[in-house]
């Protein structure tokens, strides 16, 4: 099929960016979206034009690198997927596709479609861990039974891949879903309860310091989250937060 692409191009953080139009032919429905981008980039290289920079790595929906905003939706027009899992069968011949980076003040653009998400890492540094030594002198793994339901809930929250779709989608550029996923995971587990107070306070503070907005319960993050992280986690984090404040 033939497509008309409108892609955001920006040389570096300081430069001003703009949309550039590209036409592309011979795209098959079985291709993934990023393979379509590969085809375009190969074409550009042979025309001696700088290829379009975009983050990507595992290409199976788990590393969280890819981060394209396609036709106004984070990761494009499908549910429960990352950009690399989007396939061209979701488009039809002659379609126009607008491709932008994940936009948020806290995600400055590095080049073209590549953004700097190190703010996410810094939030984790502020409390996204359990303070135990890795020297191996811990108790046996089965000493403390954990209810299956709690373990499953912790797991569901822990599947966050840190891609930033929640932030890109939210009108407030809020990172609440991302932060709550980690807080919630540990709150379900006995190991996480010891530092629960400090964790939630520090992580929320860091989130605010990084300039992410607040949550106004629109639920858009949950809809676009490729891993289906539930908005219930935000409620849970709020509860943890109030508990810690009291």
């Amino acid at each position: 099929m033939k497509l008309n692409l409108k892609i955001w191009r920006q040389q570096d953080k300081e430069s001003k960016g703009n949309f550039v139009k590209y036409e592309i032919d011979d795209i098959t429905p079985d291709m993934s979206f990023l393979e379509m981008m590969d085809v375009l980039n190969q074409k550009l290289i042979y025309e001696n034009i700088d290829p379009i920079a975009f983050d990507h790595d595992c290409r199976e929906g788990i590393c969280g690198s890819c981060s394209l905003f396609i036709n106004g939706r984070a990761h494009g027009p499908d549910k429960g997927i990352t950009t690399c899992q989007l396939h061209m069968r979701k488009f039809k011949d002659g379609d126009s596709i607008v491709i932008e980076p994940f936009r948020a003040a806290s995600f400055p653009i590095i080049k073209d479609l590549v953004v700097d998400r190190s703010a996410f890492d810094r939030i984790q540094h502020s409390g996204g861990y359990i303070s135990i030594n890795t020297s191996g002198n811990t108790q046996d793994a089965n000493t403390t039974p954990i209810r299956k339901e709690d373990a499953d809930n912790a797991f569901d929250a822990a599947t966050c891949i840190g891609c930033g779709a929640c932030v890109a989608t939210c009108k407030n550029a809020s990172a609440m879903l991302y932060v709550s996923a980690k807080v919630s995971q540990f709150s379900y587990l006995p190991q996480g309860k010891v530092e629960a107070k400090e964790r939630v306070l520090n992580m929320v503070k860091q989130m605010d310091d990084e300039g992410f907005g607040n949550c106004t319960n629109t639920g858009a993050c949950e809809v676009e989250c490729p891993k289906g992280i539930s908005i219930k986690n935000i409620a849970r984090m709020n509860r943890e937060f109030y508990k810690a404040k009291i």
Binding site: R59, R147, F155
Partner: protein, 779 residues
């Protein structure tokens, strides 16, 4: 007509001496070819009548012997074709001769040095690690504060090592090329992690895990390392649970297990199909804690470009900052390589797009031996290739073989119809299906090790039984498991276990709980519902058992340079068992390296800070700068991907699931040629000092183009079939591998000397004290 010897005159520019170059002519059916002897003989010393070198030439004997040897080789080829009654054209003779000539040369080139010292401690196997740990030199906490360690890579091995080293008190500088350490490709591991906890009470033990791993690796791994791995495996699980890793649990609240290929117990811990993600996020969180304390300095979007050696010791690295494109210098008292495997040499693999061999290859070029490069794992259950544009392959976890049954049609006509899309697998009757793994290997059935399952799939497809349009796929079918689970659940629920619709519905729910994300992934890619239609799968490159050679302390042959995780070679021999990669990565990082590195660093406590202003750093940086400049200013006609794809094709076709002598010799030559062409004709867009993904890719591909040659050479020299290395020449009548313990029970450790395939071979003899070396059988 026939074969005769003649000579060509060579005139020198100065006109002083005339020489001749003798050559053979093979003449048949008005066609002819020349085979030169690569000799130069002075006119005066050449007997034109007898076509011989006169004794006046100092090297007459040698030269005549060479001519005679070439004649003999040519005559052997001619007579072998006569015996086969095949016509032999001049071109054919030439190509046959080139092959035999090359092999001879290659064999002569191998310069075997005395065995290398793996420094395995003495004493009984089960107490080696304990006593070694007890006698290792320690570094006191106050001295650790003055010691810097560089860790390259933040996958399971790198992240866990960084965290533990920092916790012990060392200053760690960690590097990853991704935008965050959490994105390293360990994140994509699906199925699980092994540990000999014996929670299921099915007779598991450290010894059994050790035994399974050695046997699974086809007796090509180092016994002491594997035993240590099994010993610390249980502790990994304790550690991870304490970190908040949400493993799957049963209704009693205790940890659940499943079974993987090549074993008969359930020892695999898992978190749905995302075990690697959960373990890596655990290690990442341990790292974050140390980053917050200032003990780890994290350098994301930085890629190691070279190792810096001072006085023979590893003292730092040159890294490229991917955001600015600048080169940066980093010094340390030790350098740890944890940059993963080199499966991407095949272009199409289950590795991430950025996975590369550069760090390992750069240290190889600086003196670290590279071990068993040809030991590659081809994973049996991946989603088949669908087109030329494809950039990577997706794995379907081995855990699926717990419940899925692998089959192809029994009948070739059925297979043809399926390939043409005229027959649905659902319409093929039970008795017309060939569950070939269950047929060939009744004891292990669908859970045979990966190398065996992959070859069996290839065998069926090569014989025309494949089930997609290219004929390169087999079925992985869950319909039996769905019915089995459904009936069980119906009984528990008190529903009608004979109502097929209810049973199917309940069964699908159970399968969804177990493998939900994998089924979703499959459906998104293939656009077919795997709960109804059997999955189509085919083998793909997945993991590399080979890697940087290390001793028992995980130190490479460069003092102060260590290699851990998939980057080293030690634990999996010629084939890795499922769920063992995660185990090894974390074992190396959490429990082995942090101790053994002290043995080396204890001599370094008074060294003090290492300056990056030395000439060694300067030279290293200049070398990298020159390479980058060369690549960027080349402005050739082909993209980097063009070369990567070409290399991948050579590797897959000639060094893939089965290999033979002729193909491997061809591969060496083709890769050499391709590399030359790369430096002449590659086009890298953009500039050096900017964010430039093409340039990063070009450096990686340049290193793959060198490794490929050594890979083929290693496969050529290993004249046996073992594990993932299958040489067509060495198989039984029914296609099982023939291993040669008499001649090949060793690790091939290659030392770089210039051209990759000129590498010198060092053999580490493998001694098995506790285990009887047997033919591996899963029948």
């Amino acid at each position: 007509m026939g074969l005769y010897l003649t000579e060509k005159h060579i005139k020198y520019k100065d006109g002083k001496d005339d020489h001749v170059s003798p050559f053979f002519i093979y003449h048949i059916n008005n066609k002819r070819t020349k085979v030169f002897c690569s000799l130069k003989v002075n006119n005066k010393n050449w007997c034109f009548d007898k076509k011989k070198v006169k004794s006046t030439d100092k090297q007459a004997g040698l030269k005549n012997r060479k001519i005679k040897a070439i004649k003999l080789q040519l005559e052997t080829i001619i007579s072998s074709f006569k015996a086969k009654r095949e016509p032999l054209s001049p071109e054919k003779l030439k190509s046959e001769f080139e092959i035999t000539k090359l092999v001879d040369n290659e064999i002569k080139k191998i310069n075997t040095k005395p065995a290398i010292n793996s420094k395995v401690p003495n004493g009984p196997l089960s107490s080696k690690w304990e006593s070694h740990k007890g006698s290792i030199d320690l570094v006191s906490p106050s001295n650790k504060r003055n010691i810097d360690i560089i860790v390259v890579g933040t996958g399971l091995a790198g992240a866990s090592a960084s965290a533990t080293l920092a916790e012990l008190g060392y200053n760690v500088k960690a590097f990853c090329f991704q935008d965050s350490p959490r994105r390293a490709h360990s994140i994509a591991a699906q199925g699980g992690i092994n540990a000999s906890k014996n929670y299921q009470g099915d007779g598991d033990s450290d010894y059994r895990l050790f035994y399974d791993t050695i046997k699974g690796g086809d007796y090509r791994s180092r016994e002491a390392n594997v035993y240590r791995l099994a010993e610390v495996s249980g502790n990994i699980i304790d550690q991870c649970v304490a970190q908040g890793v949400p493993f799957a649990r049963d209704y009693g609240g205790l940890l659940d297990n499943r079974s993987f290929g090549g074993v008969q117990v359930s020892r695999t811990f898992y978190a749905k199909g995302q075990t690697g993600q959960q373990l890596l996020l655990g290690a990442y969180s341990a790292m974050n804690r140390q980053i917050a304390r200032g003990k780890i300095e994290m350098f994301s979007r930085h890629e190691m470009m070279d190792l810096v050696k001072i006085d023979g010791k590893a003292r730092g690295i040159i890294a490229r900052n991917h955001v600015t494109g600048e080169l940066e210098r980093f010094s340390a008292h030790a350098v740890v390589i944890a940059s993963g495997g080199y499966g991407n040499i095949f272009y199409l693999s289950t590795n991430a797009m950025g996975s590369n061999v550069t760090a390992s290859w750069k240290i190889h070029k600086k003196g670290a031996y590279f071990a068993n490069p040809c030991f590659t794992q081809i994973h049996p259950t991946c989603i088949p290739v669908s087109g030329d544009y494809q950039s990577k392959l997706t794995l379907m976890s081995e855990s699926l073989r717990n419940d899925g049954r692998i089959w192809v049609p029994k009948d070739l006509t059925d297979a043809k119809l399926v390939q043409e899309g005229k027959l649905s697998p659902l319409d093929i009757k039970e008795e017309d299906r060939d569950y070939y793994l269950e047929r060939r290997y009744p004891a292990f059935g669908n859970l045979v090790p990966r190398d065996i399952a992959s070859r069996a799939a290839k065998e069926r497809c090569d014989n025309g039984f494949g089930v997609n349009k290219t004929g390169e796929a087999v079925y992985l079918d869950f319909s039996h498991a769905i019915i089995r689970y459904g009936k069980e659940k119906a009984l528990i629920n008190g529903q009608d276990e004979n109502n097929i619709e209810i049973v199917k519905k309940l069964g699908r729910e159970i399968i969804k709980q177990k493998y939900g994300n994998l089924f979703q992934m499959y459906e998104k890619i293939v656009d077919e519902d795997p709960y109804v239609m059997p999955m189509k799968i085919y083998p793909a490159v997945h993991y590399t058992m080979g890697g940087v050679w290390v001793d028992y302390n995980l130190m490479t042959s460069i003092p102060g340079c260590f290699a851990i995780g998939e980057a080293n070679f030690s634990d999996h021999g010629a084939n890795r068992l499922g769920a063992s990669a995660l185990m090894q990565g974390l074992a190396d990082g959490y429990f082995v390296l942090p101790y053994t590195i002290g043995d080396y660093l204890s001599d370094d406590i008074s060294t003090g800070k290492i300056s990056t202003d030395s000439k060694e750093f300067e030279e290293s940086e200049k070398g990298v700068q020159d390479l980058l400049q060369k690549l960027i200013s080349n402005k050739g006609k082909n993209s980097v991907d063009y070369y990567h794809k070409k290399l991948g094709k050579i590797m897959w076709n000639k060094c893939g699931m089965s290999r033979n002598q002729n193909d491997l010799v061809d591969a060496i030559n083709e890769i050499k040629k391709l590399r030359k062409d790369f430096y002449k004709n590659v086009n890298v867009t953009g500039k050096v000092a900017e964010f430039n993904e093409e340039l990063a890719k070009a450096v990686r591909v340049a290193d793959f183009l060198e490794l490929g040659e050594l890979f083929a050479k290693d496969a050529l020299e290993r004249n046996e079939s073992c594990g993932g290395h299958f040489r067509e020449e060495y198989q039984t009548k029914d296609g099982e591998a023939i291993r040669d313990d008499k001649n090949f029970k060793f690790v091939s450790a290659w030392e770089y000397v210039g051209e990759p395939s000129d590498a010198k071979l060092h053999k580490e003899d493998l001694k098995y004290e506790e285990i009887e070396v047997k033919t591996r059988s899963y029948k």
